[in-house]
Symmetry: D2
Subunit: 312 residues, 4 copies
């Protein structure tokens, strides 16, 4: 693995990966200016990496032309924070997006499962391998939905493709996580990427997985960062309070409707006065009642952080 | 509903919908000439409709630029057979593809579920509705995977959108099918679209659903057409023989690996001497052993048709 | 196969299998007198068979001592209708119940899946085989939940055990049904046994499966019998009306709460003035509002039957 | 909660719960003498509790008469180790078993989900509540399969029934686990009870869940106890080695066939020279090849423990 990949892998192994929302205008078109402001704001918070046009960035409903515009803006505004471009849809679109990411200067991509079709492990390896061979930058495979990797497949991909860095786990299957951690060692990057990954943060730290994606970081970075420190440093009281009074109630709102794991991010941005526009169908924006609950929750999260002891 | 939509709905309510494969070259690029030949051959067999760049056409891994080229070729070669363009991926890509289909002269589209994200019925209706409003041509929603419509949602879409024709059912849930049939009446188009739809053909006819998609039609139209007549006319002996000696063994090959429902179509084209190239990852082509089994099965299918009584 | 088994297999291949409720007293104990009256009433309606202490008979929550009392009463009141005793829970209880059924004079048993544990096809075959070897009477395996048989396993059981008659299918997987029908022939008994089996009745008839279980028969035999005739004789109008105005709305009530497929039978008995007591936990009785809906539906069902042309 | 329940809850909140196998003779009948020896051996290892006729004890296939014999023997041999009797099958059998457990002197029961039938949360609460009211001893609900409790239901059961101690979690859903831990506090007993619970042990400790069930304890208590200490005391090296070289390979054998989570316990007892007989169908005993793998693994486990530093 060359030194820039090693550096990237190291960056991804600790801290929070932030997932910018994709800014849309009220008429549904992309909002490049809004995107620029949003990414700049996030970059200033210094996450371990920025993953534009990922799940929270509605990769689902962005077309390839919009994609390049958005990615260009994001890379431009990311400053010194490494950008991992969300990539997916299917072989042709994914390869094109990966090439665009490389050309525009992103050090890596996060590869989502293929659209609709199911495949066994050999087929998935074939798919990831084909994308790895398209570029020289780092590739993280996002294990979820119809693209769940078993440990053997993921480890073999790492052997075969020097730029295959590892897996963002969206499943929470600890049999696989333990195998990857114990067999893959330092060569293998493993990121906790389940929806609202904070729910599994302490458990993952307990087995050596010390980075995770955070949707909360996108609209409330101070809370997300304080929680990370509580997990890392074993501050049980702060952990318990944020989990009980902020994260679990947030998950309760998220669970009210399929797709809210994404919608809640844009709702949060609206609530904190940094709106990024509506979500695209089939996603639905939160109802007014749910917005009010979220606003109250955000106030609670901020209060807990204010009252918590300053981190050492 | 205007008269051209009524005419289309009528055409889709009886007979076989054929799904062309998408021709790729050995280097993986699209093969427009191969596509033209393939679609012309299929059109000559006079299916009820042609659905290019659908599931069998690997919509999963075709990018939007390739898409327009392929669709243009397909419409050009379809002659008098109505073309229903496969459309999907997500809101922006789907709307763009729908507009292209309308511009190129297709009378309708088949709308696949959105990429990755899950949604409840309201979200799905929002998605389908947004696409319906983009064009004036007919829209069929493909109910499968993360986009399964309950009867109420589908009936409401038909009320709201004059160009929403109905549903291609990929699930085989007869509670929903019966409701759609009994409540939707003639206004509502309902197509049996489960994988290897011939398995449910007789059962669907028994409740008034008399059209289905056929992957076999793509490489062996004579067998597919003879089976259709056997179902329609209650020719039990021909039905039983084709089911037992051809379709069920075909399904056994298909079940050997996820994704083979698509791969087997290209394998069949290779076997009958009309190759359309390899499949794209994550799909895998059949092994040599499976190819030999498929060739034997094709010979069996042809022999059964040759020995069957000529249809009246 | 000896002549009594052949006779039984023939009886089970056509018509309706009726599933008596298990009568409980208000204090939750079994009500042997109520059971006797209920079974006698059902037997007078002459179903193809009676299956006491099956799913509708809450086999789930009946203990082995109660079981023998209830079965004894049921066989006593069944007259000339063959009794197929529901049997399950696990190896020791199932063998004990099978022996009781044989001793008390039942010509067959319906074997439910084992409690909780999962098994592959070899394990399931081992389980069914062990029960078959315990008795000489006929055995039907109920394919559902953690005990779903593939066609190969079921056909092999029929080869190995002369008293293994076949399968009551609770899944509705037509790949398996077609294989069993086409490979198993007359030797193999196949019964449509999905919840509210009337939903699949016409589809099953279309592929030669002409008997099914009916929960409606238990509380409204006139409607169940009229529907059967409509399916068998292709009376589309009667079929459509009963499906649309009676069965589909009944399924809508059933779908309101898990377990209602059973609870609705006792609610129906209460509604028609032949109460068999409450259900046992974890089942829940219908709410007052749902009871009112069910009563209205029963009136509708009766009216449709009254208005339908007399069967030829 | 009375003092004996408080004492029991305390005992169950730390350490390993051991699940004896149920000893069968080669002819399949229960082996009371074998059971006595086996339980005595386990009790001498001083687990936090003994759970006879639970999952590893094949509760699935034991009938109520066998049950009382086995339970009597187990309680008799358990010495000062608290016995939590496995209880299940359905309402009538579960209440009868719970009463037997109380009469024979067990301080608590572990209540398994009801047989086959599904229920919503209200129905499950109704079921557990009915069993709680039958006895005065402690009740733990085993959350798994068709009986998965959400946090609200479990907390409400604890409010209503003083002898409802809490939940053995067989799912590994950390949203629920965190809610129960943070809302339920000391009043609520929470046990990690997923299959091969050691896989989640460190993660559960990280959120305060410090007891778990161990199938390995049943045949290799020295390894199970050493692993527990490594988890508790954060001995990373011992943890990693046992996980990588013993537990993960054990899980690989377990995953080879459904039901092996139970079969592997009896295979392990055979391997260490303390056979408890065969498993009952539908379970299958390990093949000779798998037995050889297990024997090698047992040797590895013992060697790792021998080489590990003595616990402080």
């Amino acid at each position: 693995m060359d030194s820039s990949l090693i550096k990237l892998a190291k960056a991804l192994s600790e801290g929070i990966l932030a997932f910018p929302a994709t800014a849309f205008r009220d008429d549904g078109a992309i909002d490049a200016d809004g995107m620029a402001r949003h990414v700049a704001t996030l970059a200033a918070e210094q996450p371990a990496a920025l993953v534009p046009i990922g799940g929270a960035g509605e990769i689902f409903s962005v077309d390839p032309d919009e994609y390049e515009t958005l990615l260009d803006v994001a890379i431009d505004q990311a400053g010194d924070v490494p950008v991992i471009a969300g990539v997916g849809h299917g072989l042709a679109t994914a390869r094109r997006a990966a090439r665009a990411a490389e050309r525009l200067g992103a050090p890596g991509i996060l590869l989502f499962p293929p659209y609709l079709t199911t495949a066994d492990q050999a087929g998935l390896a074939h798919y990831v391998g084909a994308v790895c061979e398209t570029v020289g930058i780092g590739v993280i495979a996002y294990s979820r939905n119809n693209g769940i990797f078993d440990a053997e497949t993921a480890l073999r991909l790492a052997e075969r493709h020097p730029n295959f860095l590892g897996v963002k786990d969206g499943v929470g299957d600890f049999e696989t996580i333990l195998k990857l951690k114990l067999e893959g060692g330092d060569r293998f990057t493993l990121i906790n990427g389940v929806p609202t990954a904070e729910i599994l943060a302490a458990q993952c730290f307990a087995v050596g997985v010390t980075s995770y994606s955070s949707a909360v970081f996108t609209f409330l970075p101070a809370v997300a960062k304080r929680f990370y420190r509580a997990v890392r440093d074993g501050e049980t009281e702060v952990f318990d309070r944020l989990m009980r009074e902020f994260y679990l109630p947030l998950v309760a709102i998220r669970n009210r409707r399929r797709g809210y794991a994404v919608s809640i991010v844009k709702a949060g941005l609206r609530a904190v006065g940094e709106p990024a526009g509506p979500v695209r169908a089939p996603l639905m924006d939160l109802t007014a009642e749910e917005m009010a609950q979220l606003e109250a929750l955000i106030a609670t999260g901020r209060r807990i952080v204010a009252e918590a002891p300053a981190p050492v």
